[in-house]
C-alpha cells in the first residue's frame, strides 16, 4: 500500500471526516403530518429530504467521493401514530427493512435514469392501479432526489477544480457505468443513500461478479493495470469505513456491510476472477473491518486461492468467512430456490444465504434457545424419574414450541414500504410492487443457538445418570440449584469427563444431530408463513451466546441458569458451532469432523463453525499453506460454513489492560468483525475464553 492510501486510511480511522457532520438530524414530521402523506410517500419524502440536506464534500485527496454529514435518520411518524400504525403487529428489530441484498447490477447496467424509465413505463401500463401508482411515484421521487444530489456533487467537484470527479458525476449514477471508477462511484453513492434512508445491514453482494465486466474491459484497453485498479478499490473500501459509528447494531462493527466473493456462475462453473484475488489482497493490506469478506468455495477450489485467503485470515480481521457451495446450493434448490438463483447466493449480514435482488427474506427472526429447551427437559424428567427417551421427547417438544412461538410472532410481521431500496430489486419497478409486498423469495430464518452447551449437558446426563449410574438425579438437581457451590468435583466431572461436542465423539455428536433434526422437523411442521415462505433452520448464535446467559431487555427467550454441562450461571455459551468454553478439546480436525455430521441439507440458514487459531500458527508460508489445507478439508468434509480467527490470547488480555495500545485490534465477534476495544466487556471476556489452537 502506498503512502497516499495509508494517509487516507489513517484519516478515516482518526475520524477527521466526522468534524464535517451536521449537528442535528433534519425534521420532516411536520411536513408528513401537514400533507397527511401515506406511509410509502413518507418514506420517499424522507429519502428526498435527506439527499437535499446532505452537504457536498469534495475532500482534496479523494477520487471516490461522498461523505455522509447527516448524523441520523428522522422519524416519519410521531411515537403515538407509530404505535397505532403497528399495533398488534410484529416489527423486526428496529422495524425498517434490513439485511437483504440489492441486485447492484441493475444500478450499474441501467443507471438511475434507466430505472426511472422502467418505473414510468409501468406507471402508464398500470394507470388504474392506485397502489402501484403510489409505489412508483414514491420510487421516482427517491430516484430524482439521488440524481439531484449527484448533480450537486458534480457542481461541487467542478467548483473545486476536480474535473475528473465532475465528469464522473455527469454520467453516474444517472446512466450505466462505463468504467471501473464510474461503477465504484455510482455504487458508493447509491449504497450510502440506502443507509441514509434508515435501512441497515446493507450488503454489497457479489462484488467480484457485477464489477468485473467494467474492470475486465479496462484491463483489455490498458486504461487500468492491476496496480491502479487496486488503488481505486482501496479507496472504495476506505470509504466503506467512514460511518460505522452511525450504523445501528448490537455492538459497533455489527453493520452487515458484507461482500461475497467466488462461487459459481449461473452455468455452475467457477466464478473466480482477478477481481476476487484483488479484493482479498486489498482487504489484507488495508486491515479495516469493512467490507466484511465472504468467500464461496467448494472441495475443488484451488489451494492457491485458499492460501491467499489465509493470508487475509492471518492479519486477524476474522474474515474471510467461508461458505461451501457443495452443500449450500443443493440445500437451497431442495427448498424451492431456482438453480440459477441458488448459484447466485450471497451471504447476508452475518451468515445467511440470500439471493441478491430476489429476496425479501427475514433471515433471523430469532433464536431457538437449545440450552433452555434442554435444561427444562433435564430438570423435569429427572424430577419425575423419567427415562432418557422421555427426556429427549421433552426436548423435541420444547424446540417445537419455541419455533411455533417465533413463527406465530412473525405471522404478524409488518414490513414498512421501501421505495428506494425497491429500485434495486428485480421486478419491483417492472410490476409496480414495493419490495415490502414480497419478492421472489420470502422465507424466514431461525437459528438454533448455543448448541454445544445444550448437547454437552444432555450427553453428561445420558452418560453419567442413565448409562453409568455414576451420578444420581438428586445430586445433579441439587448441584444445579446451588449453581455448583459446594459441588466442585461434580462440576468438574460434568465439564471434563463427559462426551463433548466438537471432539468427534459419538454420544455428544449424535445428540447434536438429533437437536438439529428436531429444529428442522419443527420448521417443516410449521409450514408456510402468511408471507408465503418457509422457516429456514440455521446454526448461528449471534449475541445469544451472551444474552441467553445473562438476559437482555426485550429478549423473548428465557435466561438459563447453571447447566448440566458444568457451566455456572451467568457464564457465556460458545459462539455458533464451536465447543463449549473451558472444556478439553482435541483440536481443529476433530472439530471439523464433529460439525460435519450435521445434516446441512436441512440446516441451511447458515451459522459457521467458529475456530480460533493462535497467531503463531501463521508463522511462515508453509504453515499458511497448511492452514489453507485445513480450509479445503472443511469443504471436503461437507461442512457448511467456517470462520477462522487468528488471535493471541496474550494480546487480548493486554488490550483489556491497556486499550490505548490496541486501538486497531480487530476480532470476529459472532458474524462480524469489530474493534476489540470498542466491545462491551462481556463480549471481550467471551472471546478471551475461547479455545485457541496453537
Amino acid at each position: 500500500m502506498n503512502e497516499r492510501l495509508i494517509a487516507m486510511k489513517n484519516r478515516v480511522r482518526d475520524g477527521e471526516h466526522r468534524s464535517l457532520r451536521q449537528d442535528n438530524s433534519i425534521d420532516i414530521l411536520p411536513e408528513c403530518e401537514t400533507l397527511q402523506l401515506s406511509w410509502s410517500r413518507r418514506v420517499a419524502r424522507l429519502v428526498r429530504r435527506q439527499c437535499e440536506a446532505e452537504s457536498v464534500i469534495i475532500a482534496p485527496e479523494e477520487r471516490i467521493v461522498f461523505t455522509r454529514t447527516l448524523p441520523g435518520v428522522p422519524a416519519i411518524y410521531s411515537p403515538e401514530e407509530w404505535a397505532k400504525l403497528t399495533a398488534g403487529q410484529t416489527l423486526h428489530e428496529l422495524g425498517s427493512v434490513s439485511n437483504i441484498c440489492a441486485d447492484w447490477r441493475l444500478l450499474l447496467s441501467q443507471g438511475l435514469v434507466g430505472r426511472k424509465q422502467v418505473a414510468l413505463a409501468t406507471r402508464v401500463r398500470l394507470a388504474n392501479d392506485q397502489k402501484a401508482i403510489e409505489f412508483l411515484d414514491s420510487a421516482v421521487e427517491t430516484i430524482d432526489a439521488v440524481l439531484e444530489l449527484a448533480n450537486r456533487y458534480a457542481a461541487g467537484a467542478r467548483g473545486n477544480g476536480r474535473e475528473e470527479i465532475a465528469t464522473i458525476f455527469d454520467h453516474v449514477p444517472s446512466y450505466p457505468a462505463r468504467t471501473f471508477h464510474e461503477a465504484l462511484q455510482s455504487l458508493r453513492l447509491c449504497h450510502a443513500v440506502v443507509w441514509l434512508s434508515g435501512h441497515y445491514h446493507v450488503g454489497l453482494g457479489r462484488f467480484d461478479q457485477y464489477m468485473w465486466p467494467y474492470l475486465a474491459s479496462e484491463f483489455q484497453t490498458g486504461h487500468l493495470t492491476i496496480e491502479t485498479a487496486e488503488e481505486l478499490l482501496a479507496e472504495f473500501f476506505i470509504a466503506m469505513n467512514k460511518d460505522s459509528d452511525l450504523y445501528p447494531g448490537v455492538q459497533q462493527g455489527d453493520n452487515g456491510q458484507s461482500l461475497t466473493l467466488g462461487g459459481v456462475t449461473p452455468d455452475g462453473v467457477s466464478a473466480v476472477n482477478e477481481l476476487t484475488r484483488m479484493v482479498l489482497r486489498v482487504s489484507r493490506d488495508l486491515a479495516l473491518i469493512d467490507p466484511k469478506i465472504n468467500l464461496r468455495i467448494s472441495a475443488q477450489t484451488d489451494l492457491d486461492l485458499l492460501v491467499l485467503a489465509t493470508e487475509l485470515t492471518r492479519i486477524g480481521l476474522g474474515f474471510p468467512q467461508y461458505s461451501n457451495d457443495d452443500v449450500i446450493i443443493p440445500a437451497l434448490v431442495s427448498h424451492g430456490y431456482a438453480l440459477e438463483d441458488a448459484r447466485d447466493y450471497v451471504v447476508a449480514a452475518c451468515w445467511e444465504f440470500i439471493i441478491p435482488g430476489r429476496g425479501m427474506e427475514v433471515v433471523n427472526i430469532g433464536a431457538v434457545s437449545f440450552p433452555a429447551a434442554v435444561d427444562q427437559a433435564i430438570r423435569v424428567s429427572l424430577a419425575n424419574q423419567e427415562d432418557f427417551e422421555a427426556m429427549l421427547g421433552r426436548v423435541s417438544k420444547n424446540i417445537n414450541e419455541q419455533v411455533h412461538q417465533l413463527g406465530e410472532a412473525y405471522s404478524r410481521l409488518v414490513v414498512p414500504p421501501a421505495p428506494y431500496y425497491s429500485v434495486f430489486m428485480q421486478g419491483c419497478l417492472e410490476y409496480g410492487k414495493d419490495l415490502s409486498d414480497g419478492l421472489k423469495y420470502n422465507n424466514f430464518g431461525i437459528h438454533g443457538a448455543c448448541v454445544a452447551n445444550a448437547v454437552d449437558a444432555l450427553a453428561a446426563v445420558k452418560q453419567f445418570i442413565y448409562e453409568e449410574g455414576s451420578l444420581s438425579s438428586a445430586d445433579l438437581l441439587s448441584a444445579l440449584d446451588a449453581n455448583f457451590v459446594g459441588y466442585e468435583p461434580l462440576r468438574r466431572k460434568l465439564a471434563e469427563e463427559a462426551s463433548k461436542v466438537g471432539n468427534n465423539t459419538a454420544t455428544a455428536d449424535e445428540l447434536m444431530v438429533k437437536l438439529f433434526d428436531d429444529l428442522a422437523d419443527a420448521c417443516e411442521m410449521y409450514g408456510r408463513t402468511p408471507r408465503g415462505g418457509i422457516l429456514r433452520p440455521g446454526s448461528g448464535s449471534a449475541m445469544y451466546y451472551i444474552w441467553l446467559a445473562t438476559g437482555h431487555t426485550g429478549m423473548r427467550e428465557p435466561v438459563v441458569g447453571a447447566t448440566a454441562d458444568g457451566r455456572r450461571s451467568g457464564e457465556p455459551f460458545s459462539a455458533n458451532l464451536s465447543p463449549s468454553l473451558g472444556i478439553p478439546v482435541r483440536g481443529p480436525i476433530s472439530m471439523l469432523q464433529s460439525f460435519a455430521k450435521i445434516d446441512y441439507r436441512r440446516i441451511f440458514n447458515g451459522g459457521p463453525i467458529t475456530m480460533e487459531l493462535s497467531d503463531s500458527v501463521f508463522r511462515n508460508p508453509e504453515s499458511i499453506r497448511k492452514t489453507a489445507m485445513l480450509v479445503r478439508t472443511f469443504a471436503q468434509l461437507g461442512c457448511q460454513q467456517l470462520q477462522l480467527n487468528s488471535l493471541s490470547r496474550e494480546t487480548l488480555l493486554d488490550a483489556k489492560q491497556h486499550p490505548e495500545n490496541h486501538k486497531n485490534l480487530i476480532v470476529r465477534v459472532w458474524g462480524w468483525s469489530g474493534y476489540f476495544c470498542e466491545l462491551a466487556p462481556e463480549y471481550q471476556d467471551q472471546i478471551i475464553a475461547r479455545h485457541y489452537f496453537e
Binding site: N504, P584, R586, G587, S590, R619, S623, K626, M629, T633
Partner: protein, 251 residues
Amino acid sequence: MTKGIIFDLKELAIHDGPGIRTTVFLKGCPMSCQWCHNPEGQSRQPQVIRSPVGERMAGKVYTAVELAALLNQQVGILRANEGGITFSGGEPLLQADFVAEVIDLLDEMHVLLDTSGYGEEQDFRKLVDRSDLVFFDLKLMDGIAHRHYTGCDNTMILSNLQLLNKMGKPFVVRVPLVPGVTETYQNLNGIVQTLRGMSGLLRVDLLPYNKAAGAKYRYAGMEFKPEYNESQVLNPDTALFEQAGIKVTIV
C-alpha cells in the same frame, strides 16, 4: 496388550513435519535438558498442570489399540493433505514397544519419528524401521557439556545417528539454538563435521530458543534454572552448513 502414556495429542501440528499432521507426545524422557520446552514430558507419571487458564491433568494412559483407533479416525484427512502422524515427546524410544505396536495398527499413512536419539539400539531400530521420516535432535557435540546441560551422555546418540544414516531412512537433524550453549561456532562446526557426507540427511533445522518455556515449569510445579542468558541475541553461523553442502533452515 501394551500400554503407553502420552501427555498430549495435538492436531494440526503445523511445525512437526510435512502436511497436516497429528502429533503424539509420549510422556517420559531420560534427558533433562535445561531448555526443555515440554517439561511435562519429562516424568513418566501423570501430573497436574496449573496454569492461568485452569488446572488440567497431563498424562493419559492408552492401550496401543485405543490410541491407534483414535488416530485412524483421521487417516483420510491426514493422507489427503500430505501429512500423517508424528511421534514426539518426551522421548518415544522410552516407550518403543508401545509406539511400535501403535504404528503397526495404523492404517497406511506417513509416520514421522521425532527423537533425541537417546535410547537402546534395538529400540531405535524398531521405531526407525517403522517410520517414513526421522527428525533427529542434535544438541551438543562435546560430551562433557552434553552431560552438563542435558543430564545424559551423548555417545549413544551419536552412534544411533550413524546407524540412522546406514539404515537409509531420510532424516532431518534439528538443533535447538540455545544462546551461548548450542549455537556457538565450535558446537555448530562440530555438528557440521559429523553430518558432512551423510547420504540420508535432507536438511538441518535450526530452532530458535523459545523464551516461553520458563512459565511451563512453574505450571508443572518444576524448577526452571537456566545457566545461560535467555535474552542473548542469537547469531548462528548458517554459512558453516552451506559451505559443507548441507541445506539449513531456521524454523
